[in-house]
Amino acid sequence: MAVRVQEADFDPGAELAALHAGRTDVGALVSFTGLVRDLDGRLTGFELEHYPEMTAKALHAIEAEARARWPLQACLIVHRFGPLAPGDRIMMVATASAHREAAFDAAMFLMDYLKSRAPFWKRETTTAGASWVDARAADEAALRRWSRGGR
């Protein structure tokens, strides 16, 4: 079980290998990696600000909630902060379980909560200037499917 918040890049393959190294009870390993997207070639800068004292608490709470809801054998959240470039890795989540359904559902849950409940803010600079990325209503709506009784 691990939560890491770091400025440095990470190696998703090595993280996944480490998650099930030396154990034989993991039947399903699911991961998601988020990247800095530049759809039209106008992105010249990207920065992730965060609230360090709250980030660790929020990520641990989200991870604990996932572990309470699904039978996970391992769970990983890695999230970067600081300046990033188009194509750079921003974050990853990985879940390990005996069966795929729990691993997929828990990974989706972690992502939905990270989007709207982890204290990170994205700032993009394009050829038109710099702006803070707006939260999407769809991200907030995605949380509702996980409300108790909803799933």
């Binding site: 609230y51 709250m54 608490k57 803010w121 990325v133």
Partner: protein, 83 residues
């Protein structure tokens, strides 16, 4: 009481500070916001639309009605865009 008040993202930019100590008797977050807005135009402008502002008290998400008794740290920021 003295609170550590933190600002992030565009709130930090509009207020021109990332952290400050505030001496206050505010009972709730809403009271603190009203007090800050009365101080200077930059606070008034930053808190003009509270629907666009989220708040954490001692690193836990709270709403404007949250009491401040015993609190040490209050943070204001826009909706989060992690992931």
């Amino acid at each position: 009481m003295t609170l550590d008040v933190l600002y992030f993202a565009w709130l930090r930019e509009r207020i021109g500070a990332s952290r400050e100590a505030v001496d206050t008797d505010a009972a709730t977050v809403a009271d603190l916001v009203a007090e800050l807005r009365g101080r200077e135009p930059r606070y008034d402008a930053a808190f003009a639309d509270m629907a666009a502002v989220r708040v954490a008290v001692d690193q836990e998400l709270r709403d404007l009605a949250a009491p401040l008794a015993g609190a040490r740290e209050v943070a204001f920021f826009p909706p989060m865009t992690g992931g």
